[in-house]
Structure formats: structure tokens, C-alpha cells
């Protein structure tokens, strides 16, 4: 499996934010996107996740034989943005259960996924009762409940304490070792062997 990004060019309100980004990632590789605030890290990630119209360039996902995967690349991605994508009025279990069923391709059960992020005890609590860091961990558990070969993470460790960050880098490592492709905008190195860095510079 190979993710090929060529000459990515993204606009926001007709102003060019990101220009000419190209890279290739194979299964098991990780890319850390760095850059100053406002340099276009989030824009780049949203572009790859199919959440922004591309001004120019292409995003392709090829399998081992060089054949393109069916459908859009975004369908093979998990996206973890600044917001958690969880409903405060529902319990943790209801939230994760919904995303698991809606995304399809179930992987870990909800209990197992919450165990991975050390939140098994919160399963029946409303999401709004959790602290900011715990909310973040629940949305990390969302990545585990359904199977997607690409993870796109935007500041995934925001609000996490040192111990949770360690747990999270461990999860990322496992994901890459299992043949996943990881793209993350973060200031912390994840410590993955195949990790590369892409620095984005503000285009003006």
C-alpha cells in the first residue's frame, strides 16, 4: 500500500495557504508534519482527508501491484481533528458504538479500545462528564474501534498528560508496525522508526 501526494495546493478563502507539497508514504511509515502556527499544517491534513477541495495536485492510494484503490482516499482514512467528534449528551459507549457502526470495518470492541486508553471505567458516563484529556483519549479510542489503513491526526496529543502521551505513541507505533500509514501534525516526535518529518513553511 502506498499513499502518493503530488503537488498539493490548497486555498482558503481564495488565498493560497499550502503550495506544492509532495510526498510518498508506504505501509508502516509515519510522517510528522511540523511548522509554525498558521503555516498550514491543519489545512494540509484536511486536504489529505478530503475535507477541503484541492486547488491543484493529486492524492492517490495504490496497492502492492500499483493499482489504485476504489473510491476516494478519504474513505480509507481516520481523521482526528481539533474537535473530538463526540456528542456530550451521549455516553462514551454510545458515542463509540455509533462511530464503530457508522464507519464500519469493526476492529477492537469498545471495551478493548477503552482499555487501550485506560478509560474502561468511564464507559457508561456521559461524554460531557469527562475532562478535556479524557475526552481526547476517548476520541483516540475511536481510531481503534474501526479499521482504517491511514490515520490523519491533527495535534493528537493536545490536552494529554505525559503518561497518556506515552500510551498514545505506543498505539501509533503498533499501528505503523501493523502496516498502517500515519500522518500527524505534532510537536512531539512519536519515536517510530520509520518516522519522517515534513516542515511546512508559510507560503507568504
Amino acid at each position: 500500500m502506498k499513499l502518493i501526494i503530488e503537488k498539493l495546493n490548497l486555498n482558503r478563502a481564495s488565498q493560497e495557504i499550502v503550495s506544492n507539497i509532495s510526498f510518498e508514504l508506504s505501509a508502516g511509515e509515519a510522517l510528522i508534519v511540523t511548522g509554525e502556527n498558521g503555516s498550514g499544517k491543519s489545512t494540509t491534513l484536511r486536504g489529505i482527508a478530503g475535507l477541503m477541495p484541492l486547488n491543484d495536485g493529486s492524492i492517490r492510494l495504490l496497492d502492492e501491484t500499483g493499482k489504485q484503490f476504489e473510491g476516494e482516499v478519504r474513505e480509507y482514512c481516520h481523521y482526528l481533528g481539533h474537535q473530538n467528534g463526540m456528542k456530550p449528551a451521549l455516553t462514551v459507549r454510545e458515542n463509540l458504538d455509533f462511530w464503530q457502526k457508522f464507519c464500519g470495518e469493526p476492529d477492537l470492541s469498545i471495551e478493548e479500545a477503552l482499555d487501550e486508553v485506560d478509560l474502561a471505567h468511564t464507559i457508561d458516563l456521559p461524554f460531557s462528564y469527562l475532562s478535556a484529556g479524557m475526552k481526547r483519549r476517548v476520541s483516540i479510542a475511536r481510531l481503534l474501534v474501526s479499521d482504517r489503513p491511514i490515520w490523519i491526526l491533527d495535534e493528537p496529543t493536545a490536552g494529554l498528560d505525559a503518561q497518556s502521551v506515552k500510551m498514545f505513541t505506543e498505539l501509533c507505533k503498533n499501528f505503523c508496525e501493523g502496516g498502517g500509514i500515519l500522518i500527524a501534525a505534532t510537536h512531539l516526535p512519536l519515536g517510530i522508526e520509520t518516522e519522517r518529518t515534513l516542515e511546512i513553511k508559510a507560503s507568504n
Partner: protein
């Protein structure tokens, strides 16, 4: 998709979801009319179909502003849009859930309000049937309005302004059908079939238009 329907309904029942606000608003609108019209029961029963339809129309607009704006606020919209499901189907389900929690309760509550307005049993039956056939269209058209205003911080007013002109045909045929059921020379079937046709038409076109809108408003 069933999971989405279940989640939407759960959300509207939970605190802050506003499952019953539609019916309460309907009650408020319908109950002020007799005070304004006065004690003329004949006039009231003559006006009843129109009052009930206008009440239902306004009540159905409630909650439309939350349809996508709330999803966008908590980041769920990005995830809903990314999935392999056709976006139009996702929107169809969301609009259907909106109707289930606002339009359908109105239909159920109609007999009670019909009595308040001195409507005959036949009139109540006709109102219920036309509302049942017509109110889904308001949710489907409303989904387009909600998609257009998804990025605006307080878009609910804009949604009403956008949606109300578009639902006028349903109002015309809905009230015409009830009048047809009550008064002899006027037909019931023809306007009723128009109501059904509009609902079927908007159930396809509404989600499609809203999905195009949402894809293009992404940023």
C-alpha cells in the same frame, strides 16, 4: 445508517435535544388563534385546517438550525462527510430523524388541537393524513437550508427565511386537500396526491442538494 438514525433520536430525547419543543410550540401557536378570532366557533372551524397547517409548518422549522451546525461545532460533520456512505443518504437519514422527532409528534397531537379549534372528526382525520404526507417535505427542504447556513453562527433565522417560501406549495395543497375532504364539490384526492408528490420529490432532491452544499462548504 440505522446507527445514525438511533443516535439522532437518542440525541433529541436526551437533555437539550428538544424532542417535545415542536409540539409545545405547535400548542402555543394553535391556542392563541381562538383568542384572536373570538368566540365564533363556525369561523374557527372554517379556519382550523389553515391554522393547524401553519402551526405545523412553523413547528417543523424548529431544530433545523441544529441539523448540521451542531455536528460542525463538535467536529462530527467532518467524520460524517468522510465515510464511504453516499453523503445524500446520510443527510436523508438525518432529515428523517428530524421529522420523526418534530413532524411526527405534530401528527399525533393533531386530534387534540383539532378539538380546540372545533374541527369535525372528518376534518381531523384529513388534517392528520395531509400532515403525515406533507411534513416530511419540510424536513427535507429544511436540510438544504441547514446545509446552506451551516457555517453561520446563528443561522436559524436565515433557515426560516430560506425554507418558508419553498414550502408554500405544500401548504397550499395540504389545506386544499382538507377543504376538499370537508366541502363537497372540492376534490380531496388531487391536492393530496400533490402533497405526496412534493414529499417524494423533495426526499430525493433535498438531500442531494444539501450534500453538494456540504461538500463545497467544507474548510
Amino acid at each position: 445508517m440505522l446507527a445514525l438514525l438511533k443516535r439522532e433520536i437518542l440525541l433529541s430525547i436526551r437533555a437539550g435535544g428538544g424532542a417535545l419543543t415542536g409540539v409545545l410550540f405547535f400548542l402555543a401557536v394553535v391556542s392563541v388563534f381562538p383568542f384572536a378570532v373570538g368566540p365564533d366557533t363556525k369561523l374557527l372551524s372554517h379556519l382550523a385546517p389553515a391554522i393547524l397547517w401553519i402551526g405545523a409548518l412553523l413547528a417543523s422549522l424548529l431544530g433545523l438550525d441544529k441539523l448540521f451546525a451542531q455536528e460542525r461545532e463538535d467536529g462530527s460533520l467532518d467524520l460524517l462527510v468522510m465515510q464511504p456512505h453516499p453523503l445524500a443518504i446520510t443527510i436523508f437519514i438525518k432529515a428523517l430523524a428530524h421529522w420523526t422527532m418534530t413532524g411526527l409528534p405534530l401528527v399525533v397531537a393533531t386530534p387534540m388541537f383539532g378539538i380546540m379549534l372545533n374541527l369535525s372528526p372528518l376534518g381531523i382525520g384529513a388534517t392528520m393524513i395531509t400532515l403525515l404526507a406533507g411534513t416530511p417535505a419540510i424536513s427535507f427542504i429544511g436540510a438544504v437550508g441547514a446545509a446552506v447556513s451551516v457555517k453561520l453562527p446563528r443561522g436559524s433565522m436565515l433557515i426560516s427565511v430560506l425554507v418558508l417560501p419553498l414550502v408554500i406549495p405544500i401548504l397550499i395543497f395540504g389545506v386544499a386537500a382538507i377543504t376538499g375532504a370537508l366541502e363537497d364539490p372540492a376534490p380531496f384526492t388531487a391536492p393530496f396526491l400533490f402533497v405526496c408528490a412534493i414529499t417524494l420529490f423533495t426526499s430525493v432532491l433535498g438531500p442531494l442538494a444539501a450534500s453538494i452544499m456540504l461538500r463545497h462548504s467544507a474548510d
